[in-house]
């Protein structure tokens, strides 16, 4: 028996490394290496002709300063849009996730499936549907106009709100799912206990459910904020030239203008912003668990 136990323990010492190796090797080749070369690009100076540009690595931090001063407006706009979208997503997702987790009984898995269902329609088609919904001659604009919420000749399409609305819609599922997962794991007996100890429903929520669902809140916020801040489709389909985000700039620099050092520098600035946001957020909420 003792012999079996030791060999089991020895096996388990290398087992985890064998289990993590394939995934880590994959990420090293297809994530770390490409990023390293992109990072080098962000510090390179471009020379040569327009048709055959050459990049020379030169620790050129000027790329960063230049990109920041030129596209400051888009950077701050992206942050504002993504932050607003994240907060709204959290506010609308929590009640839904709560109801599915605690009050749906035998319909739980059906409801969960229904929530996911719309997101099996391609992101671009959903966004195009919003274009129809918010159109100038559409139902929503005329309804808001008739009750005086929207001025005459007022429009929804091509405004900041249309872009933010698109961001909210397209990533709300990434808020609902982690919230549901963390809520569903809460032991219902804890709630009963808090009731038995004369806690009001609200207090039970604040003292029991909310803290225990924090991992879901954090994961959801990150999963919404990060894609939202780098997105360019919503601004492209639902916005105007006044609502361009940093994603639009990066995409254009990469694929149209082909100013690779500037595009790479902007990319790394965006990631630094996201990383700073994520770290301060998790620190503020004080959890050791990121997801």
């Amino acid at each position: 028996m003792a012999g079996v136990a030791t060999s089991g323990r020895q096996r388990s010492r290398i087992a985890p490394y064998l289990m993590i190796l394939p995934a880590l090797a994959y990420l090293a080749i297809f994530f770390v290496i490409p990023f390293w070369s992109l990072f080098r690009t962000s510090l390179s100076t471009s020379g040569g002709s327009v048709y055959l540009p050459t990049l020379t690595f030169a620790w050129d931090f000027g790329n960063y300063a230049e990109a920041f001063t030129t596209y400051q407006e888009q950077i701050f706009r992206s942050l504002g849009y993504a932050l607003t979208a994240t907060v709204v997503c959290l506010l609308i997702s929590y009640p839904l996730a709560y109801v599915i987790a605690f009050k749906s009984g035998r319909f739980k898995s059906l409801l969960l499936g229904l929530v996911i269902l719309p997101f099996f329609v391609t992101f671009l088609i959903r966004t195009l549907a919003w274009k129809t919904i918010l159109a100038d001659d559409g139902v929503v604009v005329s309804a808001l106009g008739s009750i005086g919420l929207l001025p005459e000749e007022g429009r929804l399409l091509s405004t900041s709100w249309a872009v933010i609305g698109g961001l909210i819609y397209n990533w709300v599922i990434f808020m609902i799912l982690p919230l549901y997962v963390s809520l569903e794991k809460i032991d219902a007996r804890l709630l009963e206990a808090s009731r038995d100890l004369y806690s009001s429903s609200f207090r039970a929520f604040r003292k029991v459910i909310l803290p225990l669902s924090m991992p879901g809140v954090i994961a959801g916020s990150m999963l919404v904020f990060i894609p939202a801040v780098g997105d360019f489709i919503n601004a492209d389909y639902l916005g105007s030239t006044q609502t361009t985000m940093i994603g639009n700039v990066i995409q254009k620099q990469f694929l149209v203008v082909k100013d690779y050092p500037a595009a790479a520098a902007l990319s790394f600035m965006l990631m630094a912003l996201i990383l700073a946001g994520v770290l301060s957020y998790t620190k503020a909420l004080g959890t050791e668990d990121l997801v």
């Binding site: 990420l27 959903r126 129809t132 999963l223």
Partner: protein, 287 residues
Amino acid sequence: MSTVASTGPDTGPAESRARIRSRRRLSSGKVGDFVLRAIAALVMLYIFLPIFVIVLFSFNKPVGKFNYTWQGFTLENWADPFKYPALTEALQMSLVVAAVSTAIALVLGTLLAVALVRQRFRGSKGVEAFLVLPLTAPEVVLGASLLTLFLDLGWASGFTTIVIAHVAFQISFIALTVRARVRGFDWTLEDASLDLGAGPVRTFAKVTLPLIVPGIVAAAMLSFALSLDDFIITYFVSGSTVTYPLYVNAATKAAVPPQIDVLATVILVVSLALLALGTLYRRKRPV
């Protein structure tokens, strides 16, 4: 509770006071419950609003090239859903890409997640932190950096490069979803099973797997949807291969046929049918 006490602590026996208290709590609970359910229903409605539009517009008879405004009811689009072979091929391509990349990422990601939850090993914290990094990278950047790599390696862009790119962003999603899902479980059940004489294989099949399967299924669904949906990264690494989102994006620049909405509706109905089947199956076998 304190109001009850202040209006008259001695008005009745403790039993009736308790009843008043519980009734009050029940009624305020009912209102709160109703409001909560109403909000949830509204959010659900909001989630489905564009879906209604898509289904409705699959019956639209558009004037001109763009299916953006309602013109009139027709069944023509449904009579000929595969009118545009390029659209159909793009959809097939996306489904194959999603299936292949999800299968690969599921194996890699689940192994990683289970190792992180079940084993304490040196460097596990570092691995966890590292896993978050691909999620903090904007898609634009992932796509561009991968394209640079493929150009350096001299690989032609196409099906393989799309699958490689999709797996790269799916691994973290799967590993973190599965990990979040399985972390709370009582793993001493495994020890119990081993103590009771079940072998490691049987323990894995009868105890470990049933515990982690719900998490894996959830991760697989999310991951499949992510792949099917991905536009930005695919845009960079696709070469001349056209996936469904790429087709749609090209269409917005030239012409948006109603068949796009028809096929989107078909996907929805198929997903709904699978969902219903899954629910029925689970209800028949209450495990």
